[in-house]
């Protein structure tokens, strides 16, 4: 009888504990750990952007070294999707359902991100700072998706504005990747030029698998463009500039922030990148910006692999993670996804190493409630991969 009572009591305790822990525990959060995930192309055609996910890794290690956040260490799960949306989806599902990820951060590429956006949103998993400036993250807005990267449209608009207003250029053409990434740039350029009563003189699409860009450059040359916007992968951007040089076609090239890692671009273009103007969403890695220098010393110097480079893409991995870490910190010890969303919505002019980041309470009719940063500045590549800042932080409005 006594034994039965003991079994009954123990069962009751176990059930009660289960209920209690079920009521308070959040997926991916334990008393000592917070599980955060990210995908990134370590191989494949977009591998040049692979250092984004590695930058986040060093940043999280630095946070953990400083004691974590409210006693919890970040456990970072990074995987290689080779810029292949099918692999992104498989990897995200595997980690989400196998390990249990509290929130996702970064993630290079519009197409890979689009492959998992609906999945994450249906499961109400927060995702902060997709590493792509696509309008798809915010239009329509999603409660759990917080964009940091300024819209590619914004970059294209500001580049076109600079070309027309500051450089007096009239004949602007674009070579763009034939997917959402490229088309967002195309839309932005068209919008801005329309404001000046201009039209693009050539719109040349390029597929990610294209190996020969001479026909593309011929089209650009034929249009007699004096400015060419590059909205492609690093590989295609370098090929376009190089082939143009061989063809004796010398417009002013302007590029999205995805090709703003000037030392890298100068190296792989064998110097042809000199003079290219690009947008930048974060402080320049070799600038003396104090917070950036702290990250370099405490994250990069401590945790980066031997052959890693302190470049734009690497620091971008920190840019996406900064608002997430700040919001987790603001949540206090009681970390849940709902509280994280509230904390993110509370960010106003938060300044890390990017432009200012602000969110608003969720409004399904207002895309800007989930667009954190809308500022960029323009830079020009000088000899030796050095950077010249052309403008201050600016937004379209």
């Amino acid at each position: 009888m006594k034994r039965n009572a003991l079994v009954l009591l123990l069962s009751g305790v176990i059930v009660l504990l289960g209920l209690v822990s079920g009521a308070t525990a959040e997926e991916g959060v334990t008393a000592t750990e917070i599980h955060i995930g990210q995908w990134g192309p370590q191989t494949g055609p977009a591998a040049a952007w692979g250092s984004v996910a590695r930058g986040t890794d060093a940043y999280f290690k630095m946070i953990n070294e400083r004691g974590g956040i409210h006693g919890r260490k970040i456990v970072y799960h990074m995987f290689d999707d080779a810029y292949n949306p099918a692999k992104t989806k498989a990897g995200v599902k595997e980690l989400q359902e196998g390990v249990g990820i509290f929130a996702w951060v970064g993630g290079v590429g519009t197409a890979p991100g689009l492959a998992v956006r609906d999945y994450l949103m249906e499961r109400q998993v927060p995702w902060v700072g997709p590493s792509a400036g696509s309008r798809h993250w915010i239009d329509p807005p999603y409660k759990y998706l917080f964009a940091v990267y300024p819209l590619y449209e914004t970059e294209a608009q500001l580049l076109c504005r600079y070309a027309v207003a500051n450089m007096g250029k009239q004949r602007i053409a674009i070579i763009y990747q034939n997917d959402d990434y490229g088309k967002n740039g195309l839309i932005g350029a068209k919008e801005e030029l329309a404001r000046h009563g201009l039209e693009l003189v050539a719109e040349v699409p390029v597929n990610i698998t294209d190996g020969d860009l001479k026909p593309h450059v011929m089209k650009l040359k034929k249009s007699e463009a004096d400015v060419v916007l590059l909205w492609t992968t690093v590989k295609h951007a370098v090929m376009t500039v190089g082939i143009s040089k061989a063809m004796r076609f010398t417009p002013q090239f302007m590029s999205t922030s995805t090709c703003s890692d000037f030392p890298l671009m100068m190296h792989i273009s064998k110097g042809a990148w000199e003079g290219v103007i690009a947008a930048s969403f974060g402080e320049i890695p070799d600038s003396g910006y104090p917070l950036l220098q702290t990250y370099k010393q405490e994250a990069f110097d401590q945790y980066a692999a031997k052959d890693e480079r302190w470049g734009v893409f690497y620091t971008a991995g920190i840019v996406w993670a900064e608002p997430l870490v700040e919001a987790i910190r603001r949540c206090g010890p009681d970390l849940t996804r709902e509280r994280l969303v509230q904390a993110l919505e509370g960010l106003k002019d938060f300044k890390g190493i990017s432009g200012k980041i602000s969110y608003k309470p969720f409004d399904p009719n207002d895309p800007s409630c989930r667009q954190g940063q809308d500022e960029v500045f323009l830079v020009q590549c000088l000899a030796g991969g050095k950077t010249k800042q052309l403008t201050d932080w600016a937004s379209v409005e």
């Binding site: 192309p41 494949g44 597929n207 698998t209 001479k214 593309h216 089209k219």
Partner: protein, 291 residues
């Protein structure tokens, strides 16, 4: 008209690298009837070896490039000896699958050893210098590639026609059993075939690398080379070269006049059309069953 002629020139220019890879595939196919899908990645490894010798060991280029070509020959022979030859009861399909597997392994190996980021191959000629002929331009690297492709084709053609080893290779392809009875060591012949094919492919890799160098770089040229070889009938060396130049020109004209968006699929349309309409290729005479 100027555009048209420039497009023809561009087509011939890009066709040269397709031609080298097409030739490499034809050499193996001629003797073993296996389309080698690892061709591009075999060239990739040799190219990265050249890069390693130049960048890490600071070899001069007149040593680094020949050494990488020697490496390519050894790699081809080793792969044949250690992998292909070990296949039990090899069917053509089985061998194709093995080459696809090899392709993935080799690409993974390069990504692991050298990283997936783009590299800059030091090369004596700048890929962005060009020569102007009146209104037309050709890059100096493309002229070099054209010369290498045509010389390779002529040397291979003479080799297969007049050298003992070349004759033995042809004999092995036409009737392995009879060749063996006549005293030809067909296994060694196959190994030599892989070595020579790897050498030709590697020369393509070395000429592509100055423009773009990353583990993914040989995939597109390899497929185009394959398409060119199919056009030429898979066994004809001049056929593969002719197919490569034709493909380059078709791609450029298609991109220029019809649709630049669909330019990259032209090669595959060509493969499908050739296999449907003339499966023996433009230049093959004695075989009907192909690929």
């Amino acid at each position: 008209m100027i555009d048209f002629i420039q497009m023809l020139i561009n087509g011939v220019a890009v066709g040269s690298s397709y031609a080298l890879l097409g030739l490499a595939m034809v050499i193996i196919y001629k003797t073993s009837e296996v389309p080698n899908f690892a061709q591009g990645e075999m060239a990739l490894i040799a190219t990265y070896v050249a890069y390693m010798l130049l960048e890490q060991y600071h070899f001069p280029s007149y040593l680094a490039f020949p050494l990488s070509l020697v490496f390519a020959v050894v790699l081809g022979c080793v792969l044949e000896f250690t992998v292909l030859r070990r296949a039990k009861d090899p069917s053509v399909l089985g061998m194709i699958i093995i080459t696809i597997g090899l392709e993935m392994i080799l690409m993974g190996l390069v990504s692991w050893k050298f990283g997936a980021e783009q590299k800059s191959m030091p090369f004596p000629i700048s890929p962005y210098d060009s020569v102007m002929f009146g209104e037309f331009f050709v890059s100096t690297l493309e002229i070099l590639t054209l010369i290498v492709a045509l010389c390779t084709m002529i040397v291979l053609f003479l080799f297969f026609r007049f050298s003992r080893l070349g004759m033995a290779m042809k004999a092995t392809q036409q009737n392995p059993m009879a060749a063996r009875i006549m005293g030809i060591r067909t296994r060694r012949i196959l190994m030599a075939t892989w070595g020579i094919s790897s050498l030709v492919g590697a020369s393509a890799g070395l000429l592509i690398a100055p423009i773009i160098m990353q583990p993914y770089m040989m995939w597109d040229p390899m497929l185009k080379g394959f398409a060119a070889a199919v056009m030429g009938g898979m066994t004809s060396l001049p056929g593969a070269v002719f197919g490569a130049y034709l493909l380059g020109i078709i791609e450029n004209l298609f991109g220029g006049y019809i649709s630049i968006e669909f330019k990259s699929v032209v090669a595959f349309v060509v493969i499908v059309l050739m296999l449907c309409i003339r499966p023996s290729g433009l230049f093959a005479r004695h075989y009907v069953k192909k690929v």
